[in-house]
Symmetry: C2
Subunit: 416 residues, 2 copies
DNA sequence: CCGGGGACTGAATCAAAAC
DNA sequence: TGTTTTGATTCAGTCCCCG
């Protein structure tokens, strides 16, 4: 594990077991390390690649102090062609190791983000959003020659156009005070105690990203237990955020100094709180209720009439969980959704909210109300069982058998 | 002018005189039309090219109403390669007709903006900013499968890296309540009475841009009288904004219906207000004052002492407009700026704010105060002269000789 | 191309001084 | 000692223009 890199590079690349190295920072070039990982083994990739800033000379503030620039060798490329080749190479590996339902996030500025976005599209990633990180406190433009460069851009993309990716819609809506999360995020830059300093008090890394940004990324597009890979790990903000949110991670970093720093930083970082509080969506898909269950449980009886909101359309409940309309030759049979499409003429229909039962007082109640009633009953029964289980087993770790009580909240929690 | 397009295309392309066609909407393919324009003839290009949205099927809202999408043929491309070829073709022509100091603006969404940005860089445009148009009222994401796509991206680029482009810094700072204008702009989408409708009450163009966006673009990077070209003119918002701000324009549009609509819209649009109110920067560079003029006018006397803010450094005023420090062998002579650099040790120094005179009450006043005093006196003299001139010649048009009074405000107003 | 004039910064954090 | 004010420092930077 502490072999010198020249020797390691000369050896045939041994395969890496993702489960084994989860939680570690791997020292090495990200392309070489990713090559040692199997196909389709990670749920998400977060990448903060070099921006290729192409800075010319020194820049001074009006008070003559000098602006600390990114002068590291890792940000130097001969030209756009070299940058494009590098980008295609790491991105192709990232796509190979990504699960079919996985997504990738890449952050950049106008210096590189257009190369990055075009490369993603050329590799047949499917862009889902570009997200703007608006900085509350950007560096001003000192010479008054451009607009204050007050944002960076993240691209979020699925492995391909047909990917069934994860998006924790309701959790992010909650994070945004009940409104859909937008594609522009307002967050401060990384400074103060969060900003890592070296022994001389200088910043340890030129481009450390704020944890708040990574929290939001992970909350949006991963579930607890997911494996997240960061090929440009730096000081390990992705690892700290992953640890806090109960996600597993693999970090790859080329600079041994940063590897050591990130490793100790993550060791000292707080662990996940009770994973039940971290939710994938926090609002996972509710367990499915077959319409027929309403009949079986007696909430509806065979022959009961369902009507639409206007009362113009009307179907009768059947014993097989379908509904029928009309009689004789004009009779039609189908699911509540199919018959809703027929009645409404629209391209699709949620039968649960389209069809209603008439209450004794004559008012209409959507059959979704009956479904919610049934779900609540089922949940009550499961909670009782889960409480028994918790009493048996009092610690905080995830239950091994993915007990029913947690299933609703964490359907994709791996069984380790 | 009303030739049918197939015939026009078969004829040899006649050159177009930019001054002649300024203010017109040219019916035709933008690449073909730009080819007929001479090199380096326009000051700015604003382009809202097809976004290549790649929409699959129709999208419906939860209430089953259908979302009006961009379904026009002009937005259909076979693949990314076709879109890239198209983009390179029109952009190369745009660069050719752009003046060396000219800039280009291109607006797009994540569907196309990465192709656009990469093409700009490949053609050796030099990106100055990417600007985010944040929409106050974006269309929500109806399926809850992504973030609300709440922004579009504009790229602002100079013709090349060494270009001396125009940026009306102070005017935009003013627009932003005295703070530097940032790269994220919050503006409503185009709706209400501003949104053009056809006879059936449907929107006349799928992607009409708000005038406020174009006002800001033109105010930022053009001067009154500048010639602005829009190769994808649509319903002509660029023309309406240009007219209101006293800029000249050329519009190119392929769809004859849109050409007719834009032409009549612009004819009905309000004309520029008094051009003196439209400013290039509104705050053009102040006339230069030689330090020696302070001595010649008696505001300073030979031998007067100038000190820095702390009082630690001290120079004496000479008759030749230089200042000197020390005596004998250690004596140093130079401009106020050069001696400021010596005293401060910084890489540069504005002597006008570095050096101070001591007032009778003992407080320090920067010599910039004396300069402002002198400038005000000079301006008063010029205003008086200009008033005499205005009396002779009472209309509102720009004076032919670019009279001194207007020179400060509109140095680049063409005489045409 | 060189030399020189001179224009140009916002929010956050933290330390030190002032009250 | 507690509180407020002031000043210094810092942040992914493609950062001048004219003769």
């Amino acid at each position: 594990m502490s072999r010198r890199r020249p020797i390691a590079a000369a050896l045939p690349a041994e395969p890496l077991d993702p489960a084994q190295i989860a939680g570690q920072v791997i020292d090495g070039d990200c392309i070489a390390v990713m090559r040692r990982l199997p196909d389709a083994c990670v749920d998400m990739v977060f990448a903060d690649p070099p921006y290729n800033l192409q800075l010319a000379g020194p820049l001074h503030r009006p008070n003559n102090s000098r602006v600390a620039a990114v002068e590291d060798d890792w940000d130097k490329f001969a030209d756009f062609a070299a940058y494009d080749a590098f980008t295609h190479a790491w991105m192709a590996e990232a796509r190979r190791i990504l699960k079919p339902a996985g997504t990738i996030w890449v952050i950049g500025s106008y210096h590189n983000i257009f190369r990055v976005g075009a490369a993603l599209q050329d590799l047949e990633f499917w862009i889902l959003n570009d997200v703007i990180w608006r900085k509350t406190n950007p560096m001003p433009n000192f010479r008054g020659r451009r607009f204050t460069n007050a944002h960076e851009t993240l691209i979020w993309a699925a492995r391909d156009a047909r990917s069934r990716y994860r998006f924790n819609y309701k959790a992010l809506k909650q994070l945004n005070d009940g409104l859909q999360m937008r594609s522009d995020w307002l967050l401060p830059i990384c400074s103060g105690p969060e900003r890592l300093k070296d022994d001389d008090g200088r910043k340890a890394h030129a481009t450390q990203k704020p944890l708040a940004l990574l929290y939001r990324v992970l909350q949006a597009a991963s579930a607890p237990g997911d494996l997240v890979l960061d090929p440009f790990f730096g000081t390990g903000s992705t690892g700290v955020a992953a640890k806090a949110l109960g996600r597993r991670f693999i970090g790859i970093e080329r600079d041994p100094g940063h590897v050591a720093l990130a490793t100790s930083r993550i060791a000292a970082a707080p662990d996940a709180a009770d994973p039940r509080l971290l939710g994938g969506d926090g609002f996972e898909r509710e367990p499915r209720i077959a319409f027929g269950l309403l009949v079986e449980t007696g909430l509806l009886a065979v022959g009961d009439a369902l009507v639409d909101r206007t009362g113009r359309h009307r179907v009768r409940v059947r014993a097989d969980g379908l509904v029928e309309a009309g009689r004789g030759r004009s009779q039609a049979i189908g699911s509540i959704h199919q018959m809703g499409v027929k009645a409404s003429g629209g391209p699709s229909c949620n039968g649960w909210v389209f069809w209603h039962v008439r209450r004794p007082d004559g008012t209409l109640e959507p059959i979704d109300g009956l479904r919610q009633h049934l779900r609540a009953e089922i949940a009550r029964g499961r909670d009782a069982a889960a409480d028994d289980h918790d009493d048996d087993d009092g610690d905080d770790r995830m239950v091994d058998e993915a007990g029913d009580a947690d299933l609703t909240t964490y359907p994709e929690q791996p069984v380790s």
